[in-house]
Symmetry: C2
Subunit: 335 residues, 2 copies
DNA sequence: ATAGCGACGCGAAACGTTTCGTCAAACAGG
DNA sequence: CCTGTTTGACGAAACGTTTCGCGTCGCTAT
């Protein structure tokens, strides 16, 4: 509760000098510096961030907005981000958009009112004029994560989905799979679009014709995947492998298979873009990509800090973090 | 960016009147009220929370500190808490203590400096003089979640662990299990202590002598459970059932069993206090308690708001939220 | 009539910082 | 020796609110 005034009184200098000593914004003689620091220690002074923010117009807080923190991927992202930012003296305001663009915009507004220094957003990417409204509503350094927008207004960090799709398709192809089902999410969401595009491209490269009835879209809720997988597996000529792009799909797919009395990999191979699922001890252990969240967070923090410090304001850039393929036991070779 | 001054100018009243209108802190005639509200709408005024905080000495932000957000239970808690508080106009500062008391204290300090209106903490509950240091460091309405402290200085909300243990033991007993292994966490952490105590008590009640070599403590890391389960299952007389108190234990246990070539429920039954694990589609589907996180969050929010509004300051109370038993397929009957 | 009171409105101080502009002293170059 | 510049320190204003205390008005009860 000690204020800067107490320090000034104690050190027998002006308030201005104390501030200058702390922030190094003006020259202070070594003698005074020593006196001031001593006084600070003696009265146990800690600058009041609120007052500082009011005066400077910007805080030392960054805001994180994710669609749903209860998704393991998002939880790990939050943890990793918090670690990255707390290391450099920032703390985190946190909100969940519940995958609702309106909530997202409102959270952005609230965070802006709180003068956050920067924003990390996993954008919902949906709704009329989404991109324009986002640009309109954000007046703070911002980095987008996981999903990129067609207009490059913001720095973005995302998985290298094309590469990931390539790894998945090539792996399945090597195992002999030709009838591959792909569940895409909503169109317009880059992570889904890119994964689908990568799937198509790599299938092309390997010279396998895609059976369009095996490409289902949009499938983004657990229950949709649950229903979809049952449709797929009751086709006259069912797929030999199913690709899931996220955890909701994977959970629905596994439950749906179970409901049919089918299991992976015996009846069908299952592979996932999302690596946050039980890996050991449960059967089957899902072969999946592993996202490099630590790198994603670090890169995002770097981009954001560069903008905040205004070191330079280059064109917004997109960083793609390569995933790795973790081969487990949910895929088997077919004739 | 409109300030209260702009509103005052526009409505042709004083700044004081605008403030009084907004906050209802002083009588304002209906005529002026109307003018002021109109002006507010016209200039698009939003009060600046920072300035308000500075003047009032308290913010509209509450701080959440959990040991590890990447644990599904904690992620769901965060989601639920955020929902509960955003509904009543509060937003959330968030931090992870990484299960380190020092970090926890430091986070509390940072949040206090930011003048949070209240604190929700899942306390690490470890270290010298923990309780005393906590009381010392916290000068803000606070509610503890999941873990209670021996000294009742704070409101607390926690699972009804005695009841949960009773449900688990009775269920296992009904299935014929007598040789039940129990992995406890660190001593001193109430959630673990209570679960163990409940286990002992209910075993007593059912008249089954506990085989002490099957009670292992402390086991709180995944790898400890991984190792422990292998010791347990290679005893001359191994347990027929294993009780896990949290997700780390469960993951380690399942992996450890897999490593031995054993599986649940064929070789041993497995049951868990923590309900956040894959339930459908994977084998085995773990029979577990289901924690009622929504209720936990609501109760915590209620307790905290009561303290913040100073409606009354009764003795700190402990609320215990009853879990429910979800029977799945990881336990089987034995002779 | 007038003292007293409630309702209403305002100016100014306060919250704890940072920063602007000023000033004295010390120092450099001619 | 004078001028111009740098260094070091400070007082006061500013950030955008809330709140304290005061003043004015109209009403009621004496």
């Amino acid at each position: 509760m000690a204020t800067i005034k107490d320090v000034a009184r104690r050190a027998n200098v002006s308030v201005t000098t104390v501030s200058a000593t702390i922030n190094g914004t003006a020259p202070v003689s070594d003698a005074l510096k020593a006196r001031v620091w001593a006084a600070i220690r003696e009265v146990g002074y800690q600058p009041d961030p609120i007052a500082r923010n009011l005066r400077k117009g910007v805080s030392t807080t960054i805001g994180l907005i994710v669609p749903d923190i209860s998704i393991p991927w998002a939880a790990h992202l939050a943890k990793s981000m918090q670690r990255a930012f707390s290391e450099i003296g920032y703390n985190m305001l946190f909100a969940s958009s519940e995958d609702d663009p309106e909530r997202e915009f409102s959270e952005i507004e609230v965070f802006s009112a709180h003068r956050v220094a920067g924003l990390v957003v996993v954008p919902t990417s949906r709704g009329e004029n989404y991109s324009a409204r986002l640009v309109e509503g954000i007046h703070v350094p911002t980095v987008l994560v996981d999903r990129v927008l067609p207009q490059r207004h913001f720095d973005s960090v995302t998985d290298d989905n094309l590469l990931g799709a390539q790894m998945i398709v090539r792996y399945l192809h090597k195992l002999g799979h030709r009838d591959i089902a792909f569940m895409a999410g909503r169109t317009g969401i880059s992570s889904s679009d890119e994964r689908l595009a990568g799937f198509r491209r790599t299938m092309d490269e390997t010279g396998v014709a895609i059976r369009e009835e095996l490409v289902r879209q949009p499938v983004y809720l657990r229950d949709q995947a649950y229903a979809t997988v049952q449709q797929l597996m009751t086709l006259r000529d069912p797929p030999t492998a199913i690709v899931c792009i996220n955890i909701a799909q994977l959970l629905g797919t596994m439950a749906g298979l179970g409901n049919l009395g089918l299991s992976a990999p015996d009846d069908v191979s299952v592979i996932s873009f999302d690596g946050f699922h039980p890996a050991e001890g449960w059967s089957p252990a899902i072969t999946s990509l592993k996202q490099d969240i630590a790198t994603t967070s670090t890169r995002a923090a770097e981009l954001l800090m560069a903008r905040i410090r205004e070191e330079n304001q280059p064109e917004p850039q997109v960083i793609r973090v390569p995933p790795s393929l973790q081969i487990r036991s949910s895929c088997r070779a077919v004739a």
